[in-house]
């Protein structure tokens, strides 16, 4: 097994202390992902390093951090993709979240936004396989139409969004407006609105989107869509909400 000695520069902060960086060098397999490197630091070097992880395959959204300044999920990022072989790999917590300690950020306000949107985590699945969030094109894997078994009215799957917070970190408006619902919140509102038939709930969701901290705060930086590891396209969803809001205003003006 080919092993690498990788130098990591990790952001450290404990309450009451000055924030700074610690450097560690870990020996890991060449095929390892960044989460394995962080785990190696925790197991063998410094057990007080606080970081998040759970599923190790981009389903839980727990581990999101910044690697060399860019928001990523370390569990699906190979070390060799972010290390040039010489310089240190820098690990920072997400931006725009209060930092609890080291790489762990406070997600309470984030989940308040997601609760306000109340998007159901389970949705109807598309009629085609394969289903992928990446843009890679696997040569001869053409999409194939799937037939439902007799006892099924539909297939279900988890929503693409894993609530990792990466889009919130990448968004410049999140930096400027503390109460901005954010790309994640607004994308969730869009998804929830699409799936609900209850007119009261629709009014409420569109009210949040149209509000002081809703879609009009977005200034089209599009960093959210660029950074999202699950191809949710929050920017596209924000613009879709805008279209709906404008259409409704128009219709109201025309007296409908």
């Amino acid at each position: 097994m080919n092993m690498l000695k990788v130098p990591l520069q990790i952001f450290r902060y404990k309450p009451g202390q000055t924030p700074g960086y610690d450097t560690f060098t870990v020996e890991i397999p060449a095929t390892a992902h960044v989460i394995d490197a962080i785990d190696a630091v925790w197991t063998s070097h410094d057990h007080s390093l606080a970081f998040r992880r759970a599923c190790h395959h981009s389903s839980c959204g727990s581990c999101a951090i910044r690697i060399n300044g860019l928001e990523k999920l370390p569990c699906v990022t190979r070390v060799t993709d972010v290390w040039d072989g010489r310089s240190q790999v820098r690990l920072d917590p997400l931006r725009n979240f209060p930092i609890v300690s080291d790489l762990v950020v406070d997600r309470a306000d984030f989940f308040r936004r997601m609760s306000a949107a109340d998007m159901a985590m389970i949705c109807e699945a598309e009629a085609f396989l394969p289903f992928t969030v990446d843009t890679f094109a696997v040569a001869d894997l053409e999409p194939k139409l799937v037939e439902l078994p007799e006892n099924f009215s539909r297939f279900t799957r988890f929503e693409k969004c894993i609530e990792c917070g990466i889009c919130m970190s990448a968004c410049p408006t999140m930096a400027a407006d503390e109460k901005f619902l954010g790309p994640a919140g607004l994308a969730a509102i869009h998804q929830a609105r699409k799936k609900t038939l209850d007119p009261v709930k629709v009014e409420h969701l569109l009210g949040l989107a149209d509000g002081e901290h809703g879609v009009w705060r977005c200034h089209s930086a599009f960093e959210c869509t660029e950074a999202c590891p699950q191809a949710v396209d929050p920017a596209g969803k924000i613009m879709a909400l805008r279209r709906e809001l404008i259409a409704r205003r128009f219709l109201k003006m025309l007296g409908k």
């Binding site: 309450p15 197991t43 606080a50 970081f51 998040r52 306000a116 040569a139 194939k144 078994p149």
Partner: protein, 423 residues
């Protein structure tokens, strides 16, 4: 908030609610926290990392129908199907419910079919054979050479949110969940356990917590914890490797129609398909290196079920140790996946129980068993009601603990307000 047995309070002569401490916020610890908090006890959960930091986080995400175990391990099979049905009731919004298929690739698999169907019937696992054409229409990437297909009620969950849902409900009922707190020692009076010493990883400070009972739900680390009280737990941490692909190739869970072996399950989830798993005993569950030959074996075995596996890049790989209960003379692959409670009073150490073994699918049943034991030991009569209690929204877990209090008003009647969790 549910009342505990008034007799307990009178007997003790005080109005103090017993305090139980649970070590570990994986599926076992989370479900136990919910059960005990609902029964009215004061609950504290101590976890050294984030929720689902250990075994539960990296599991295969399979909501077992029990089909996998109905022939070789019927006790597990029965547990699985019962809990499968209960979880569909209490956390319906956290499950992909597309069923699963057991498919025969070889003649040997075909021979196994009758035993499989009999085993399912004996364990009350609903199973029906479907035609090969039908199976291929439903799963276009399935190996076209399959000889038989049987449909079972497998499902898919996501382990982090699974734990969060139980913990959020426990928090609503007054439980305290302390993450990033590592148990450094067990406090003892004589041979009995009276509490724990923990180090808060955020502040570096040590703290002593005196409680009425300690529940060891640390999974493969349960032995390490128990050793701090000088007692043993008969478990063998057994690691396994899983490989996640860059796209989802199946709707249903795909299983090999045969006895459990390596790489014979492909679990789809969101936009990935996860092939698993292998099995080898490890000394230290914190130091697991993923053997490259195991990764290769997952790809090779996966291709038997879905040939297109070889064309899809690998997205991630993970390995973690399961806590298997040791039985002398039995090899790792054949060890039962059932669970067990150990009351260490029988070892001379009171105030300490261990719950280990099992799988995430049966976490609620494990919690019921250990909570019954806890209540017996603390002389409380409080019934388990977790079979029928829908869990709170998992998002509440973080919201209840945050440092800031922004208000984003929820929609009228939305479940995230948490009020519906009270029973």
């Amino acid at each position: 908030m549910p009342r505990i047995d008034d007799n307990w309070a009178k007997r003790e002569g005080q109005n103090i609610v017993p305090h139980v401490l649970i070590i570990g916020a994986g599926s076992t610890g989370s479900a136990a926290a919910h059960d005990l908090a609902q029964r009215g006890l004061r609950v504290t959960v101590i976890e050294r990392g984030e929720v689902a930091f250990g075994t539960t986080g990296r599991n295969h995400c399979l909501l077992h129908s029990g089909g996998r175990y109905c022939v070789t391990d019927p006790e597990s099979g029965i547990e699985c199907i019962e809990e499968n049905m209960i979880l569909r009731k209490i956390m319906p919004d956290l499950l992909e419910l597309n069923d699963g298929l057991f498919v025969a690739i070889t003649e040997a698999d075909l021979v196994f079919k009758d035993r499989f169907l009999q085993g399912c019937a004996a364990c009350h696992v609903p199973a029906r054979e479907i035609s090969v054409e039908h199976a291929l229409a439903v799963e276009p990437f399935l190996n076209p050479k399959i000889l038989a297909a049987i449909q079972v009620p497998d499902g898919v969950f996501e382990p982090f949110r699974f734990c969060l849902a139980f913990l959020a409900t426990a928090q609503e009922n007054g439980a305290t969940i302390r993450t990033y707190s590592e148990v450094t020692d067990l406090l003892c009076a004589g041979k009995n356990v009276t509490g724990v010493r923990i180090r808060d990883q955020h502040t570096g400070k040590q703290e002593a917590l005196k409680v009425d009972l300690v529940v060891n739900a640390a999974g493969p680390w349960a032995g390490e914890i128990a050793a701090k009280a000088g007692v043993g737990v008969p478990e063998i941490p057994t690691a396994g490797v899983m490989v996640a692909l860059d796209c989802r190739l199946n709707n249903l869970v795909l299983n090999r129609l045969n006895k459990p072996s390596d790489g014979d399950i492909i679990v789809p989830q969101r936009a990935t398909s996860v092939i698993g798993t292998t099995s080898w005993a490890v000394e230290n569950p914190d130091l697991i290196t993923i053997p490259p030959e195991h990764v290769d074996r997952m790809i090779t075995q996966g291709q038997q079920l879905i040939p297109a596996v070889k064309k899809v890049p690998m997205r991630a790989k993970m390995a973690v140790a399961r806590p298997l209960i040791a039985r002398s003379g039995i090899a790792a692959r054949e060890l039962s996946r059932t669970f067990e409670c150990f009351d260490h009073e029988r070892d001379g150490t009171n105030g300490f129980v261990t719950i280990t073994g099992g799988k995430t699918t049966t976490a609620r049943a494990m919690a019921e068993k250990v909570s019954d034991m806890v209540c017996r030991k603390l002389d409380i009569s409080a019934e388990c009601r977790t079979r029928d209690t829908p869990l709170c929204s998992y998002r509440l877990f973080f919201q209840q603990r945050g440092s800031r209090n922004q208000s984003f008003v929820g929609a009228p009647g939305d479940r995230s307000s948490g009020r519906e969790c009270f029973r």
